[in-house]
């Protein structure tokens, strides 16, 4: 097993061929679920953030339009970035709890069982 500073991670489940695990349908399913969630969402929030940055940089007149009292579009847009960040966080946690953790847990316990 691992010494305190081994240079490569220890093969804790023996000298196994990980490609077998990797190509198993269960693992491919887990991989697809993760990637199909995190890649599009990352694209989405980065685009939404860049839209905000570009509007603030290049369309200050639009962002300065007052909506009510002294609150203008820019401030609302900015606060919406907070809302979207909190919402995506909550959404991802829900997704990971339901769609990723059970499957990842199953694959892990199968592998650990097999290694015994």
């Amino acid at each position: 097993m691992s010494t305190e500073s081994s240079s490569s991670p220890p093969p804790s489940t023996g000298e196994k061929d990980w490609r077998e695990v990797q190509s198993a349908p269960e693992f491919q399913d887990l991989r697809r679920r993760l990637r199909n969630f995190v890649f599009p969402i990352t694209g989405l929030f980065l685009a939404w953030y860049l839209l905000y940055v570009l509007l603030a940089s290049y369309a200050p007149a639009f962002m300065s339009v007052k909506v009510f009292g002294n609150v203008n579009i820019g401030l609302i847009f900015g606060l919406l970035q907070f809302v979207s960040t909190f919402a995506i966080t909550a959404w991802y946690v829900r997704f990971a709890d339901r769609r990723l953790d059970p499957l990842a847990g199953k694959i892990r316990s199968d592998l650990e069982e097999e290694a015994k």
Binding site: S8, D17, L50, V53, I88, T89
Partner: protein, 547 residues
């Protein structure tokens, strides 16, 4: 507004009270550090990552303590007070960045690494060159970030302790550095984490109380507060609400976009943040850490919005500009305006505690990277005799880094803090993030690609900054007779932007790609399979050590 009430404001600061409150913080935290370190085992795992024994919520609070540096507390509140909306833009970048960490990095990193960023980057590559590269960029980012914190300490001292001569400030910087070294040596990651937790609670509660206070004075009506800030701002007041007060012209606009990119992509590449993910036992706890951090950091930045406009409304931009430390003094002056000497003393102590905690986190990260990646794996080729040897090297490195930080802090005293922090983020976004993402998600990525993206990203970023206006060639301010650049009286800049992100980040991604496809070495599909299975399922990851 004349300078009168301002002079009173600073005189209202009672240095003895400020030092006393800070002293109480140091004594209490040191006692806790000593206490928790008794429970520690002696191994590397405990020193670097507290044996992975913290819970998600604990780590989340510690992450926010690590992340909310003096630059974001004093700097953003001040930027909002003086530049209004443009200051707010910073905090949004700092927050949204956490989604990159949450979705793409935190859990996979927890599952594949042990102590350092190098663990993950070198997982399926040739160990020595990739670890050396990862450690180089870790040390570079930590050094710039450390310098920013220590340089900020000087200004803070002038403001809060009324010590204006260079020697006096140097003594205080040295004392702060010495306390920080003590935390790291006695407590390792366990002690450092507790200091960060305590500091984060104090900072967030303190800012929360001031926020409620300011809102209360304005009938809990944000629009009314904004109106007050505009009224106090005089002719320039209205501009406080709108974007573009600070970033007006074409180049500056592009500069802001560039900065925004570096902020949003830099966070998930900051080594001291990445290392925090190893202090929890599982990927699920790493996820919970980030969730807690996002809520706390988001809440805190909402507070700074109110505090910034509150300082603009109650203290006034003229008084802030004339105070020692200028923009950085907005939050302390607001504290004095609200709660007099005592609240100012508390906020001052919290600001010092902030510098202390962030610097301790950076020091332990840099020392771990040197001891684990360079000493144990590059110099000793993984053959370290006895498990205490590596920790001994880490401790010595921590002292060296502490001394360098003190010396650097004294030399860099008065330098622009925001510039140094932006530099750290730019390097993290350019050299680290592309390499981390390629390692985790791109099958073909190989040793050569990793070296190109780390060294290439680092070199491009540093070169562009050296030849940017922040180092030389900004126009001389007619009032202060000084240029806003680091160097006075010379001009060798040719890169037009202050922040290199918009150029350096795409170049690093491109270099990582080219380095991979142009190289003859093939990625090892077996190692990639192992890394992918481990990163997604947590098989074989380090087990936590029970406290």
């Amino acid at each position: 507004m004349t300078a009168m009430p301002l002079a009173q404001g600073v005189e209202g600061s009672n240095p003895i009270l400020n030092i006393a409150i800070f002293g109480v913080f140091v004594v209490i935290t040191l006692a806790i550090v000593v206490r928790v370190s008794r429970r520690a085992t002696r191994g590397a795992s405990d020193f670097y990552t507290a044996g992975g024994g913290f819970s998600g919520p604990q780590n989340g609070v510690a992450i926010s303590g690590d992340y909310l540096s003096a630059a974001s507390f004093l700097g953003i509140a001040g930027a909002i007070a003086l530049n209004g909306y443009d200051g707010f833009l910073y905090s949004i970048g700092f927050l949204v960045a956490w989604l990159v960490a949450l979705l793409l990095v935190a859990e996979l990193l927890r599952n594949t690494g042990k102590y350092t960023m190098g663990d993950v980057l070198a997982f399926r590559m040739r160990q020595r060159p990739v670890r050396a590269a990862a450690a180089t960029s870790t040390l570079a980012v930590s050094f710039f970030y450390l310098l920013a914190q220590m340089a900020g300490a000087g200004g803070l001292i002038a403001l809060l302790l009324n010590i204006s001569d260079g020697l006096g400030q140097a003594v205080v910087i040295a004392v702060v550095g010495a306390i920080m070294i003590a935390y790291v040596l006695i407590g390792g990651m366990r002690g450092t984490t507790w200091v960060q937790i305590i500091k984060a609670v104090l900072l967030i509660v303190g800012a929360g109380v001031m926020t409620l206070w300011v809102l209360g004075l304005n009938g809990f009506n944000l629009s009314h507060l904004l109106g007050e800030a505009v009224a106090r701002g005089g002719e320039a007041g209205e501009a406080l609400l709108n974007p573009g007060k600070q970033y007006k012209t074409g180049v500056l606009r592009l500069d802001f976009v560039s900065l925004a990119l570096a902020l949003v992509l830099g966070t998930a590449g900051l080594p001291h943040i990445l290392m925090r993910f190893y202090t929890v036992p599982t990927a699920k706890e790493a996820r919970r850490s980030v969730v807690w951090a996002i809520w706390l950091i988001g809440l805190f930045y909402l507070f700074t919005l109110v505090l910034g406009y509150g300082a603009g409304a109650l203290v006034g931009p003229d008084a802030i500009k004339k105070a020692p430390g200028a923009a950085n003094s907005a939050a302390p002056l607001l504290a004095y305006e609200l709660g007099g000497t005592l609240l100012l003393g508390i906020i001052a102590a919290v600001a010092f505690a902030t510098i202390l905690a962030v610097v301790a986190g950076l020091t332990i990260t840099a020392s771990a990277s040197f001891a684990h990646d360079i000493y144990a794996n590059v110099i000793k080729k993984g053959q370290v005799d006895g498990k205490d040897e590596e920790v001994k090297v880490a401790r010595i490195t921590a002292v060296v880094i502490g001394v360098v930080a003190i010396a650097g802090g004294i030399l860099a005293n008065g330098q622009n803090i925001a510039f140094l922090v932006a530099l750290a983020f730019a390097v993290a976004a350019s050299a680290n993030l592309p390499t981390i993402l390629y390692s985790l998600f791109w099958k073909r990525f190989n040793t050569n690609g990793a070296l190109w993206s780390i060294y290439g990203g680092l070199a491009v970023t540093v070169v562009l900054i050296v030849f940017s206006p922040v180092v030389s060639g900004k126009p001389v301010d007619p009032v202060t007779q000084k240029s806003a650049s680091m160097l006075q009286g010379v001009d060798f800049h040719w890169f037009p932007l202050d922040n290199p992100g918009i150029v350096s980040i795409p170049i690093s991604f491109l270099l990582g790609y080219l380095g991979t496809v142009l190289s003859k070495d093939k990625a090892d599909p077996r190692k990639y399979a192992e890394m992918e299975v481990r990163s997604l399922t947590g098989v074989g990851s380090e087990k936590p050590i029970a406290h």
